[in-house]
Structures are given as C-alpha cells and as structure tokens.
Symmetry: C2
Subunit: 388 residues, 2 copies
C-alpha cells in the first residue's frame, strides 16, 4: 500500500427532496450572495429551478443567475462567469446540474478567487490553491465532481480538453437526491454508468502492489453498479437503483477506491482527446468504447489482476487466470453493450482520426500516458484504430 | 436506501513515518499550544513520544503533557484533563494512542469547550456541539475513533460505559502509520480486528431494505479484514496486512458502511455492559464472544441477509439460504477462534452475571435494544447465559 492522504470534507445531503434545504444550508454557512450556474434549461422545465429559487429567496440569499453551461464546459463561458462573479462579489458558486455544470462552477470559483487565467491553471502552467466555495445539487450521476478534487475544462479554440486536481476543488457540500435523475435519458444514464465504472477501474488497474481493502471495496462498488445499472435501464424510476448509482458516482471519484494506489486516469486521457476533438461524443460513451479496448491491450501486463477483476466484479468462476481475465473483459464489453453503449468509434459517425487523436493525447508526442502500458503516439494510434 | 448525511472531514495522513509530520501539520493549522494525551507509557518505550515531541518543539508548539489514560477512559481522569486544558488554554487535544486515548481526548475537548459535565453529555442529559479540535496519531487499529463521530466514556463509580456521537466529534486530522502497530500484541491485534468487524456488521445487520452499494462495500471490507487478519496473526510486521487493518479501522466506523442504513450498535450495547462491569475484559474480546451469539439469536429474522453475508464475506457456496446463513455464522465463530479470541464468557474468569448485565444494558429495564431483535432484559439475560 502506497502512502496517501485522504481528505473528503464535502458534506453530503442524500435523499428525497433534499434540494429544498438549499437555502437553509447556504444560510447556515453565513453566505448572502451566490452565483447559480446551470445548463441548458432542463432544470426550468422540471421545476427544480423554482424549488431552488424559492428556498434561496426564503432564506434571504441573493442570487446571480448564470445559466447556459454547455456539455464539456467552455473556456469562453467560464471567463464570462468569472467576470460576473468578481463584479458581483459572489461568495459561493452553486452548481445545479451534472459534471459539466459543476466543473464550470469550479473553474469560475478558481478564476474569481485567484485572478488567474483558468486555462493556464488547467494546463498546470499557473499555480493556485484558491477557489471560492462551491456547492452542488446533482442532477446526473456520472462525473463524480460533486465530491471529487478534480475538474475538466475544454478550450474549443485549441480543441483541448484538460483535467486538473487539488483538494481545494472539493465542493463544500453536495445535495444528492436520486429522484432528480429519474428524467435522465437511458443513453445519458448509461454514459454516466460507464464514467462511474471507469473512475474506479482507472484506479484499480494502476500498476502497483495489491491493496486488499481498497481492491475489495472497488470490486464491491463495481458489482453494485452493474447490478443496479441493469435495473435502472428497465426501471428508470427505481429509487433504490438510482440511489445506488448516484452514491457510486461520488465514491468512485472521491478517491476512496484509490487509497494506497495511484491514479493515472490513462483511459480518461485517451477519451479527453476524443471528446475534445469531437464535441458531440459524450465522455461516458467514449469511455465505454475505449476502456475494454485498453484492457485488451493491457491485460497481459498483469494477467492475475485482470483475473481478480473478472472474479470479483463479474463472478467469473474460470480457474485459469488468462482465460478468466479475457472472460472479465468480455463481460465488461457485454455489460456496456447491454446498457446501450456503442462498441466502436465508427458508431459515432466520425471519420477515423486515429493519428490526430494520438497526437492530441500525447500533446504532440511530448509525453506518454503511463499505466500498465506506456502509451506513446504509436500505441495510442493502434488503440484508436482498434476502437474504430 | 434511507436518507443520510455523510460528513467525514477528518484529514488522513497514511503511511510510513508520517508521525514525524505532526509539528508541521499542527503549525499549518495555526495552533500554538496543545495538550498531548497518551496511555500508560508504551509510547515512551517505543520512541514515538520522542519523535512527536521533537517535531512539535521544532515547530514551536507548546505542549501540556497528560499521560496515563487507562483502557476504557475514566471520567475522573478526563475531569482532571479538562481542568488543566481550561487553565492552560490549550487550542487542540492531540491523542497519541488507541481508541481509549482518542475518546479521552474527545471528552476533554467537549468539557474544555462547553464547560458541561461530560458524563451528563455522554448520557444525553446535557447537550452541546462544542469541542476543541482533536488530532490523532493512531497506535492501535480497533475503535475507529480516529475518523468516527463517536466516543465512549466509562464512569467506574456507577459501572456505566456509555457512547455518544456527533459530527463535531470527528477529529480534525489523524496520522495512520501501520508500522506503529507492529508492536501490538497478537491478543490486542485480534481484539482490534473483532471491533473493526463488529462496527461494519452492526450496520450490515440493521433491519432495513438492502442497500446494494453499501452492502457490497461492507462485504468487501470484511473480506479484506479476514484476509489480512489471518496474515497479521502470523506475520505481525507485515506492512501490507497491518495497513489493511488500520485503514479498515477508520472506514468501519466513519459510517461509510452505514450509508443509507441505520446503526443501532446493538451488540456494542451488550458489550458495553460487559466491559463496564468487568474492567479487565477487552472490548474487542467481548464482541468476539457476543457477536456470533447475537447472530444465532437474530438470523431467523432475516435469513436471506445472513445468507448474503455468508456468501459475500466467507465465499460460502451453499445454495440453501438457511444452511448458508448458519455456515456464515460458523465461519465468523471459526475466524474469531482462529485469531485467538475467546468463544465463551467463562474464559474471562468471571462469574455468570447475566442478570446484572441484562439490567445494565437495558438501563434497569427502562429500555430495549432494537435491531433485528428487540432485546429486553429477559432476552439479554438469555444471550448472556448462552455466551457464558
């Protein structure tokens, strides 16, 4: 087990109707003026916006509205939000939405508090640990940003999607009401499930010594997501299954499943190139294609570990390790297919841009992606070709 | 899944030699004067005391020493500590030790900050959410107090051992170095393992709907503890196994394994009567006798759940649920025996005081202990008789 720090101070309010507490919660912290970020307006149609505004108003919280966050939050929008947040001197950014809205709020919080160019911060060329507090009301179970230390930014002009991390990016609080995810479409639900599983698998498949407690917890979490994932595809209003997936979203990326391990997010780096270049590709759908493919390239580096995954997550009974490992990868592919995820990149109606994607994820060949495999531009191209 | 709040702000520093960071960590928070609590002096023999003092001194932290915390921390000692903490105006209580030292520190922190009688607070007759911050350097993996919201107090005069909880009791930070537990005796190690497992099983066996994600995580955690528990009994200096058990200690009682469930701590209430009356009985050893016994009384209330436990934790392959449930309880008994725990109360060299114990844990018949079973004085006596 490697040394680690574990710090998850985000306060979770989990359950039915908890979003109605938002005004009271924010008032409890003593904040009086906040910025409310949300996406393309679905929260207005669903009535969530009204519930939130009523609670905020009732508790005397002044609200600066900033709707219109796009999927894969954009640098331009965030810059505008930072300008407003500074001018209005807001004290907290409240994200009502999914990962994109939360990440947009996190970068707004960094920009408003630090005064730095957030693209430079995301690229690691400017350093800060300052951010306004961020609160969340989650509406899509997927990114885990509601409890995680990370945030992803897309610079459309440069076609670059880049993540960064730091404990100062963990939200102050997050409200998780599974009912708010009933209306998420089957496709988006499946994308979320892929993303959640990928967050745990990225940590699980990092090359280091076995960590029994973290491994068993990770296998248990994945098993529960598969179990409830199957339920939710046929019963979108099943509270228990939605609750399972929502809580898995937070636990998969708050680093519980990475304690004593490392987290290279190798497949995420491949996927960020993909959805950075092709904006219409949902992150989770990209991961669902790329993750099993990566496994097929990587499993020979640690057959025992992939066999353990097969047995622990998919109850594979095969005794031969290599056979079990392959059955596990097939079970993962099968599960993604079962929940309606694509199997190949060509299903996204895109040309095969494997060379360009390989350049992107290796930053023009200036670096490799390390995990079981050391992925250089050549290998990245092979993986993208395989996926096409 | 029931509604829940989850708030674990304790910052964990996990790994080799991390105790040498103590001065730097405390200085980072801006504290200048602290009280250092520890037990009966083993930290002086081991050199840990010197390491801690050197780091504190180097960072300009003034230290008020308060050694001599006994197992099952005593009301009298704590009152003395509170007096000193107030007079010296210390800003943080640093606990260097196991659960008893940490709980003593927590009650000192409550008394010093609130001015209330801490026995009254423990009994729920005086209310507060004020406490000085507490930091920990853990030397025994067992109680989970290093990350939990609870603390137990013993009033020897009245023979009462009573726990209480509240998020304000979660430590500010905890340093977890598995090497510091190498010197813990096999018996104390096994007691710790029993306590850790009991914390998770108390939550697992609470009567409510299944919670797949929490259930799978709990089963995974228990599986890892059994696996590493076996290793550590023969290899006390096995870092990986010690690390597993240490991290399980924190996760078992920080409520991760209780999310969406409730936690009656039913068997703990029986055990607190036992070690409250017989001071020489280690809490974990009492639990190792009482838990499987409680299971034998309780399993018929939810055979399916006990079967799931058997399959998820001990890999029992039996298909009949009742047979599987019983095999699971036997496996639990067998594991406790394997690690050197007693099977019956008479092994503690005590008379059979089942009637007195039953009165104690039902507070002179004024209440029952609720979980799968509603335990009144009569049933409690039967369980204690069975255990004798």
């Amino acid at each position: 087990m490697r040394d680690f720090n574990f710090y998850t101070p985000t306060k979770i309010y989990f359950g039915k109707g908890k979003e109605a507490l938002i005004g009271e919660i924010i008032k409890g912290y003593g904040f009086k003026k906040i910025m409310l970020q949300y996406g393309m307006g679905s929260i207005k149609k669903s009535g969530l916006f009204d519930t939130v505004m009523a609670s905020l108003t009732e508790n005397g919280i002044e609200v600066i509205e900033m709707g219109g966050v796009e999927p894969n939050p954009k640098y331009d929008f965030i810059n505008e939000a930072i300008k407003v947040a500074k001018a209005e001197k807001v004290e907290l950014i409240l994200a009502v939405g999914g990962g994109s809205v939360i990440d947009s709020s996190k970068y707004t919080a960094i920009g408003a508090a630090s005064g730095l160019d957030v693209f430079e911060v995301a690229m690691g060329r400017a350093k800060t640990d300052k951010a306004l507090p961020v609160g969340c009301i989650l509406t899509i179970s997927a990114a885990g940003s509601e409890m995680s230390a990370s945030a992803v930014l897309t610079n459309s002009e440069l076609g670059i999607k880049k993540g960064m991390g730091g404990d100062f990016l963990r939200p102050l609080f997050s409200i998780l009401n599974p009912e708010l995810t009933y209306s998420v479409s089957p496709y988006q639900t499946a994308c979320g499930i892929s993303d959640i599983m990928a967050h745990t698998m990225e940590r699980y498949f990092f090359p280091c010594d076995d960590t029994p407690i973290t491994d068993r917890i990770a296998e248990g979490l994945l098993k529960a997501v598969v179990e409830s994932g199957r339920v939710v595809m046929t019963e979108p209003n099943n509270y228990e299954a939605r609750a399972d997936i929502m809580w898995a979203s937070s636990l998969s990326h708050n680093n519980l499943t990475g304690c004593g391990r490392e987290n290279a997010l190798a497949v995420h780096q491949l996927e960020h190139a993909l959805s950075g270049l092709f904006d219409h590709i949902a992150h989770g759908a990209g991961l669902a294609v790329l993750f099993p493919a990566w496994c097929r390239f990587a499993y020979k580096e640690n057959i025992e570990r992939f066999a353990q995954f097969a047995r622990g997550v998919f109850d594979i009974r095969e005794e031969n390790d290599e056979a079990a490992a392959i059955l596990g990868i097939e079970a993962l592919e099968g599960f993604f297919k079962e929940i309606g995820m694509p199997q190949k990149l060509r299903e996204f109606d895109i040309p095969n841009e494997s060379a360009a994607l390989a350049e992107l994820c290796t930053m023009n060949r200036t670096r490799t992606i390390k995990s079981y495999l050391e992925i250089d531009a050549q290998l990245a191209k092979e993986i993208f070709d395989f996926c096409y």
